[in-house]
Amino acid sequence: MAGAPEFAIHLDQVSKAYRLWGRRSQFATLKSALLKRDMKLAPEASVAALSDVSFAVHRGEAFGIVGRNGSGKSTLLKLISGILKPTSGAIAVNGRIAALIELGAGFHPEITGRENIYINGIMLGLTRRDIESRFDKIVDFSGIRDFIDQPVKTYSSGMYVRLGFAVAVHVDPDILLIDEVLSVGDEEFSQKCIAKIQEMKYRGVTLVFVTHQLGQVRDLCDRALWLDHGKVAAVGDPVRVVDEYLQVVAGHAPQPAIAVTTETQAAEEPAETKKDPLEEERWGSGEVLLTRVSLTDDEGRDLVALGAGTPVTIAIDVEVRTPQEDFVFGIGIYHADGSCVYGTNTDIEGLLAQKLASNGRVKFVMPSLDLIAGAYRIDAAVHTRNGRAFDYRRGVIRFVVGSRLHDIGVYRPPHSWKFEGGIAFREVDTLKRDVPAEMATWIRESEEK
């Protein structure tokens, strides 16, 4: 019952019901388990935690799970990790799993940190030798070398968690399940955790997060799933899923697509289906709309292709249907491969919202846009400070940057080369080097004349 091998995790119509414990049912459970080997639950004696959940997590993907308390997120992780068994449905997992459901869950207070590292590591599937070779890395990561030979009961709760995290991330799993543990520890340590998780993602580890820190889902995840009362409410682009979730939390009906748009049919269906990457995605609650977003030069002419270093302005026409007091305008520039080149918003830059009373225009002015040749897209959004979107337009503008240089990356810092001592270059006009061969021959010949 394995999913296709490109899936790290595959759930097929998984449901989980928890038994309600009563005085009598306990013995009845033991009896039925032993005699009938029948663990089917009568509906009145159980409560559904998950119903009919199906989704797949691809290999190497960072997958976020969001939802209210009690929506079944932790149950879902426990099912994936094998701690719990589904009541019905099938779960297929490809690869070694490490689950960070509770950090330091297996620590014994009476023995030392050193001994606990060994036991915890073995519990997570390492051998004694594996742990020996990683021991120093684990201790360095935890940052509590001075206390490593003290019994764990003397540790502060922060130290406890640091050690737990340090062991868990050094297990080298194929799949890492993380339940609400990134918010522990001090600022420095949680930065370190996030850096470590990003490194693991980079190395191709499949990550599944459960978190209430929606910012982390937006930043770290490739896709997200919103679980509502044990059912999948949405799967797909993390920014969008998180936003749909926020809309509902804020008491708005889930309206993934705004009525005024014609271009966002894709938003109707949870994004598992393949979409045309050129199609704009748009969502939001619609109190404020970005009616038109354009990329213009300094004279206000629309641009679709630009050279490197051109001055550009992103101009946004804003329609206010309901005046707002809590609002933030944001801009994101993305490379065609999906990586973020730059993103900012008015809140980040310390602009305090005062009024959004009637229609207007927002301009984001860049004296020079030093991008490398390639295809880019721009996201524009207006949302509340906690990220609930009024109108989010993903990929509202697509543009290409052309260049005669073949430098690489996404950004070209203003620069020049300087050589001193016995190092010298002869400058060649890049135009001549960079044209088709016949043209170059022609240029050379005409120069020789």
């Binding site: 306990q26 388990a33 990790s81 701690i83 719990l84 799993i97 509770e102 023995i111 036991i119 004694r128």
Partner: protein, 263 residues
Amino acid sequence: MNQLATLYRSRQLIAALTARDLKARYRGSVLGFFWSLANPLLLLAVYTLVFTKFFPQQVVTPYPLFLFAGILPWTFFSAATLESTNAITSNAGLIKKVMFPAEALPLVVVLSHLVHFALAIPVLVAAIVIFVLLGQTVLTPMILLVPVLMLVQTIFVAGIAMMVSSASVLFRDLRDLVTNLMQLGFFVTPIIYLIDRIESRPLRALLRMNPMTPFVIAYQDVLFFGRFPSFSDTFLMLAYAFASIALGITVFDRLRDTLAEAI
């Protein structure tokens, strides 16, 4: 069978947890291991006093040695069984939060009590040597059979522990039940008396039904009487060990999936 495979894979885990149990138990205590010996020694002292001074119709001499040979295996059995009622419930964190082979927990309990038992053997041997020097007993090569008996008994105890540990998660009364049964069990096992001296035939037959009876008699045979255990006791021990482990694995297997929820 795949349970045995799971257990084999988790052997390092079981070893590490057993070591952890032992370390945690003795860390910070001055007398350390002595405490696990204290209880059998106290029992030994009390019964020796009662049966050599208060009611001096000694069944066998040297009586303390006879007692010692029976008390140690009984203590192993009863302590491991009692503690296994808590083996899973007291490690709820592991079962609920970590992917963890739950069957390791009762086995860790059994193994750490086996270690206590094994550490008491040198004390017993020293006692035998003292009585040999006093000319009251003889040391025979039969003593070399002790490890074999321990192995068979460990299998027996492991089966019981698996049953008791998993069933007590769903049925908490089991712990009190087991505590009381163990007190009764001490007296219906021929530890402080010889089963052959019991006059009533039906009573003797009843005592024979106690699965710990052949084990205790066998230890007394090799340690005290210096003779090979009887054929029937040997057969019974093997049968009980096999039945117990088979039943233990079956029960555990059926309850396993409910453990993480029920705990």
